[in-house]
């Protein structure tokens, strides 16, 4: 069987896994973004807080994903829960770091003017600071998404959903019929999905970043 015959043969199943893969990554990214931006907002004014938050979230990234899943499974069982927790944890660093960088990059004169004309603290944050930090935050979320696309494949180890299932099956059956095809189909699928998502991010950027701060 050629590779394309294999793909045609298993098309429905591959599409289903691809959808699960994307949906897991997107949901985990949204969660990571909500938590990460929250952490960024909370710590960005304090250099110490920023350093601690960045160090902690980078420390998470240095834990091999197998190890993290392996540690989570005894606590959370198999399936979705350990996958979600692991992906959210891995996704935090770029978002936290970029939120801090973005918020600290807001010109003091702009912040001063916002306070000076009578905006409340919450108003300054939501109507000025977050808007100006948005390109940086979005870039962080974009990097997290790309990272999570790959890491999500490993979730198959915890019986999580997604294209990782194909890759794992292919690798464990190495040598038997279609094993390579199966691993390649899973990998290629992830790469294509990652590119698609990246394109969507570019579009989101176009429509949500003010023309006044877009570099063009």
């Amino acid at each position: 069987m050629t590779f394309w015959d294999f793909v045609a043969d298993r098309w429905n199943r591959l599409v289903g896994e691809a959808l699960l893969h994307v949906s897991a990554v997107v949901q985990c990214t949204v969660l990571a973004a909500a938590i990460g931006v929250g952490i960024g907002i909370a710590v960005h004014r304090s250099p110490l807080g920023s350093a601690v938050a960045t160090a902690l979230t980078s420390a998470i990234l240095t834990i091999p994903s197998f190890a993290l899943l392996g540690l989570l499974i005894p606590v959370l069982g198999l399936g979705a829960p350990p996958t979600v927790v692991a992906l959210v944890l891995y996704g935090l660093l770029p978002i936290v770091r970029n939120t801090i960088v973005g918020l600290n990059g807001v010109d003091t004169s702009v912040r001063d003017a916002a306070r000076g004309i009578g905006m409340s603290r919450a108003g300054v944050l939501t109507r000025v600071e977050l808007r100006l930090a948005w390109p940086a935050i979005l870039a962080g979320v974009r990097i997290s998404t790309q990272m999570l696309m790959g890491i999500a494949a490993i979730a198959a180890y915890a019986r999580g959903p997604g294209l990782g299932v194909e890759i794992f099956a292919g690798l464990t059956r190495a040598g038997s019929a279609n094993a390579t095809n199966q691993a390649i189909a899973g990998t290629l699928g992830i790469v294509i999905l990652a590119l698609l998502l990246d394109g969507i991010f570019a579009l989101v950027g176009r429509y949500t970043v003010s023309r006044g701060i877009r570099g063009e």
Binding site: A113, A114, G116, G118, M119, S120, L132, G212, I213
Partner: protein, 367 residues
């Protein structure tokens, strides 16, 4: 509409610093006047000003606006009622010019049409064509245009009080001169209470109805009209700061013909207002001097209202003393018109020329 501001024994001590940044300052800022805080860098001008709208909370003392204690008000609400313009303009880069100017009306809950009418009116007032500028972003403006938008934003909700912290500090001298002219024209119309911070004494003399010369910790060294401060500096520190000292008296010994005159943009009284406007735009200046058919100065016109001239008041001749020129500048604002023997226009004496002459005389005296 204007309000009197009173500072009573106001002190600010920043945490972790030994000496207070502002030490027990008391002063009354009369309604409808421009009061300029001038003094060396770090003397506490900004701190003093920012305590008025409570961007900085005083450590002790009281500040009242029209008799009302500012500490009894909600700070955000207080600030919405006080215009605020700063160096670098501080415009919101992600919002258009129109959205920037409409921000305070928006915060005050004005409806959309009233707000947008007001935005256009304000842009017009500061000399920016609303059709052209309303939908631009700050990065698409020159430094001078950004400062104008900053002033328009500060004025948008028609606050009785305006705080301006070196609002023209970051633009080139010609643009700064134009913006100063513009502010004086606005103030003649609006009569706000304006607190203006600068460390340029020439700017203080040009704009201020009163000048507060501040020393370290915002100690008031002298608080008086520009004429009085120039003629009778309270002490050597003030004299030193205004660059005058004993040499101010020498202004009576110098003649206008001995200093370099500057050139106004001139036009004939019979010229078409549209042509005058085009000429001013091309020269990048705010005002033109209109001459009659024999070259004698008649009136000033502003670029935005070329059809409505204001007559030239005091003018000086080449034989006048620089002291006379200074007085003419102080009554006329900005510059004194110089005429020749047949009353014809020959040039201008600007405040900067007088100030630099004073400085030169002083250096010569010291040498």
């Amino acid at each position: 509409m204007a309000s009197e501001i009173e500072l009573i024994d106001v002190t600010k001590r920043y945490p972790g610093t030994g000496q207070p940044a502002v030490d027990s300052v008391s002063m009354t800022i009369p309604a409808g006047e421009i009061v300029v805080f001038v003094g060396p860098s770090g003397c506490g001008k900004t701190t003093t000003m920012r305590m008025i709208n409570r961007l900085i909370e005083p450590t002790s003392g009281r500040i009242t606006i029209d008799g009302e204690d500012t500490l009894s008000l909600d700070p955000d609400r207080l600030r919405r009622g006080i215009g605020y313009a700063i160096q670098q303009a501080g415009l919101f880069p992600h919002l258009t010019v129109g959205q920037n100017v409409g921000m305070v009306p928006g915060l005050l809950g004005w409806d959309k049409t009233r707000s947008s009418d007001r935005v256009d009116e304000m842009l017009d007032l500061v000399g920016l064509d609303p059709g052209d500028f309303r939908d631009r972003y700050p990065r698409q403006l020159s430094g001078g245009q950004q400062q104008r938008v900053g002033v328009a934003r500060a004025l948008a909700a028609d606050p009785p009080v305006l705080l301006m912290d070196e609002p023209f500090g970051a633009v080139d001298p010609i643009t700064r001169g134009n913006l100063q002219d513009e502010l004086m024209r606005l103030q003649a119309e609006l009569r706000k209470t304006i607190v203006f911070v600068t460390h340029d004494f020439g700017e203080a003399v040009k704009l201020g109805d009163r000048i507060a010369v501040l020393g370290p910790q915002s100690r008031i060294l002298q608080y008086d009209t520009p004429e009085q401060i120039l003629a009778n500096p309270a002490d050597d520190t003030v004299a030193g700061f205004i660059g005058a000292g004993a040499s101010l008296k020498q202004l009576t010994l110098l003649r206008v013909r001995e200093v370099e005159l500057s050139k106004a943009v001139t036009a004939s009284v019979t010229d078409d207002p549209a042509d005058i406007r085009a000429k001013l735009t091309e020269a990048g200046r705010g005002f033109a001097l209109l001459l009659d058919d024999r070259g004698r100065p008649v009136s000033w016109v502003h670029a935005r209202t070329p059809g409505r001239p204001t007559p030239v008041g005091d003018s000086v001749t080449l034989q006048s003393t620089l002291q006379d020129a200074l007085e003419a500048i102080l009554t006329e604002g900005g510059a004194a018109v110089v005429t020749g023997s047949r009353g014809e226009y020959v040039g201008l004496v600007e405040i900067d020329t007088v100030m630099s002459t004073v400085r030169r005389l002083r250096e010569e005296a010291g040498a």
